[in-house]
């Protein structure tokens, strides 16, 4: 299987006045299609920075980032925005939905920026909403939904443009344990049944168990990169 992500000695250095902070110190790793990876590490280990670079929200100071074989390390802001729009999906800890727009409008947001929205897109959106159990909420506003429902909307938005990579930054951080499991099952389902590649950041080992590969960072470097010890078997879900 081809590598969809290839990082070659990626460094990220921040200059804050006189102080130089090295957030990432020569990270090299590859990700194949269909993988489900958990990135763990203490705070300050560089996992947020790694996610930012993988998510094309930031550029590496040194090294190369190949996404689907294309070197995006020195892409311009506009080119990066384009990549984020078409090839990447984000799920955040605090959901990050647009508060005064409906569920449907939140989900279709990436498509609005890629200037599409044909009938095909509408069908796809309906299908995603059905899969994630959101059809009845489509005209609701985020503040009318529970945490779990909101995160599902965020996931729907993240996959609407059929991205290469889905990046989840502590997606269960603001959820109780029951809802957390629910959301993780959704992600598992997407990974298993729809083949979506997922990179997940977490500091909870319980959550990391849902992944099949765990990368641990320490001080901006890869400490360990191992297949998951006890992978959780994904359950087929009807939501």
């Amino acid at each position: 299987m081809q590598n969809i992500v290839s990082l070659e000695t990626v460094c990220k250095i921040y200059q804050m006045g006189d102080v130089r902070v090295t957030a990432l110190n020569g990270i090299s790793m590859t990700i194949k299609k269909g993988e489900f990876i958990a990135v763990m590490g203490a705070s300050g280990s560089g996992k947020s920075t790694l996610m930012n670079i993988l998510g094309c929200l930031d550029r590496p100071s040194k090294g190369k980032y190949y996404l689907e074989g294309v070197d995006v390390s020195q892409f311009s802001k506009n080119e990066l925005a384009d990549i984020r729009n078409k090839k990447l999906g984000f799920v955040f800890q605090s959901f990050n939905l647009l508060s005064r727009t409906t569920v449907l409008e939140n989900i279709e947001l990436p498509l609005i920026y890629s200037k599409k929205l044909s009938k095909i897109d509408r069908d796809r959106i309906n299908q995603i909403m059905a899969t994630l159990g959101l059809m009845e909420f489509q005209r609701h506003y985020p503040n009318q939904l529970s945490g779990g429902q909101q995160q599902r909307v965020a996931i729907a938005r993240a996959i609407v443009s059929n991205p290469t990579l889905l990046l989840a930054d502590e997606p269960t951080g603001n959820l109780d344990s029951v809802t957390s499991t629910e959301v993780m099952n959704v992600l598992n389902d997407l990974n298993h049944n729809m083949g979506i590649t997922i990179v997940l950041v977490t500091h909870e080992t319980d959550i990391a168990k849902h992944a099949r590969r765990v990368v641990v960072l320490k001080d901006g470097e890869v400490l360990s990169d191992t297949p998951s010890q006890s992978p959780v078997t994904p359950m087929p879900q009807t939501l």
Binding site: K77, R84, N85, F90, N96, L109
Partner: protein
């Protein structure tokens, strides 16, 4: 494109109070522009009509000194006499005709109908000076004046109200219980530029009005015409020096009369209109700038408040110019709404001013279009900086914003 408009509109309607206050400056500015142009246009048309109705070579002699009106009031010794008028006509070479005038308002009666109207004593040349043709019959002549004849000439409105379709010529009307024979009917003249019905008038020999109706020996507002429009200044000079001489005014004494030409009177009106235009124009410009600053201010606040939202949009793929366009549209829609409200305000205001101030106003579609365009330009100009600032946010920082 309509989707963006909808998004912008929704953002604006989110906080109606704030949006309303923001566009206040634009509303006032646009309103002022519309009002100013309407009144300016109206003044111009009024002046043109005035000149047309009275002629560019017509002079008005008022038996009151304008400089003393403030202290003496409108009553005071009237020193103008009919002999002054004769002298002017005879001795001032630049003057072609003079019509002494004296005037009152009273009731005129025909049969069992009566009508209160303006009764004006005039000279035999009045209709020539005023370029006012007769519809039927004849005008008052010098003989009528000499013999203090009880004859009159009627305006169309008086005819309609007292005679209906009946021919008034050679009929008799009563004024102050004195019978007068109708010798002529004036053609229609219409409204004066100040909105008065010029056809609502009864003309008689001035001697008759002096002696039989008002019981006075002076004359009031007197009309004269210069030989040509260009000669009017010379005519004014001649009249002034002649009257000063006749009234035995010493060099240091002021005129006890006023002579003005239609044209100069008109230019006074234009001057007033111009002053008002400059005044309103200043208010308009300042208001528009203030309105623009208001928009810029609110957009800065708004984009800061929505930093997170901007970060989210960027994360899902909005480019810099998408964000720039989004907020620029918002600013422009805001200012456009201000423009529309301002136009409505301006229309209402100019109608009110023309109604109460008896100053005509003319709404011009061009001015509406220009004012509306300007409100858009203000929105784009003052909205650009906040929109650009928003578009330059770093998505990572924006997403972290509380």
């Amino acid at each position: 494109m309509p989707a963006l408009f909808k998004i912008a509109l929704r953002a604006i309607l989110r906080n109606k109070m704030r949006s309303s206050l923001t566009i206040l400056g634009i509303v006032i500015g646009v309103g002022a522009v519309i009002t100013m142009v309407s009144i300016g246009q109206g003044a111009k048309v009024m002046v043109e009509k005035q000149l047309e109705s009275l002629g560019t070579n017509v002079l008005i002699i008022i038996p009151i000194s304008t400089t003393h009106t403030a202290t003496r009031g409108t009553t005071g010794t009237i020193t103008l006499t009919a002999e002054d008028a004769f002298a002017i006509e005879k001795e001032c070479s630049a003057v072609s005709y003079v019509s002494p005038g004296v005037r009152t308002t009273t009731q005129v009666v025909f049969g069992n109908l009566n009508w209160t109207t303006s009764v004006s004593g005039v000279g035999a040349n009045y209709h020539i000076i005023r370029n006012w043709p007769m519809e039927s019959g004849r005008f008052i002549n010098q003989q009528d004046i000499n013999i203090i004849a009880k004859v009159c000439v009627l305006g169309q409105t008086v005819v309609t109200n007292l005679f209906g379709t009946l021919d008034p010529i050679d009929k008799w009307i009563r004024v102050n219980n004195i019978p007068f024979k109708v010798v002529g009917v004036l053609s229609a003249k219409g409204q004066s530029p100040t909105g008065q019905d010029q056809d609502d008038v009864v003309l008689m020999p001035y001697t008759t009005v002096q002696r039989k109706i008002m019981g006075v020996t002076y004359i009031g507002v007197t009309l004269a015409s210069s030989v040509s429009a260009e000669a009017r200044f010379e005519a004014i000079e001649q009249i002034t020096s002649l009257l000063r001489q006749r009234h035995r005014l010493r060099p240091n004494e002021e005129n006890d009369f006023t002579v003005i030409s239609q044209v100069e009177f008109a230019s006074t009106i234009m001057e007033t209109s111009r002053t008002m235009t400059v005044l309103l124009g200043s208010i308009a410009s300042v208001s528009l700038i203030v309105g623009g600053i208001g928009i810029m201010n609110i957009m800065l606040v708004s984009t800061t408040e929505r930093t997170r939202e901007i970060g989210i949009r960027m994360a899902v793929g909005a480019r810099e110019k998408d964000i720039l366009f989004q907020f620029l549209t918002e600013a422009t829609v805001l200012s456009s709404i201000g423009g529309v409200v301002g136009v409505i305000l301006g229309v209402v205001l100019s109608k009110m001013i023309s109604y109460y101030g008896e100053w005509p106003s003319l709404l011009s579609p061009l001015s509406v279009a220009v004012a509306f365009l300007f409100s858009n330009i203000v929105g784009i100009f003052f909205g650009y900086y906040p929109a650009r600032k928003a578009s330059r946010l770093n998505p990572i920082d924006a997403l972290r914003y509380e």
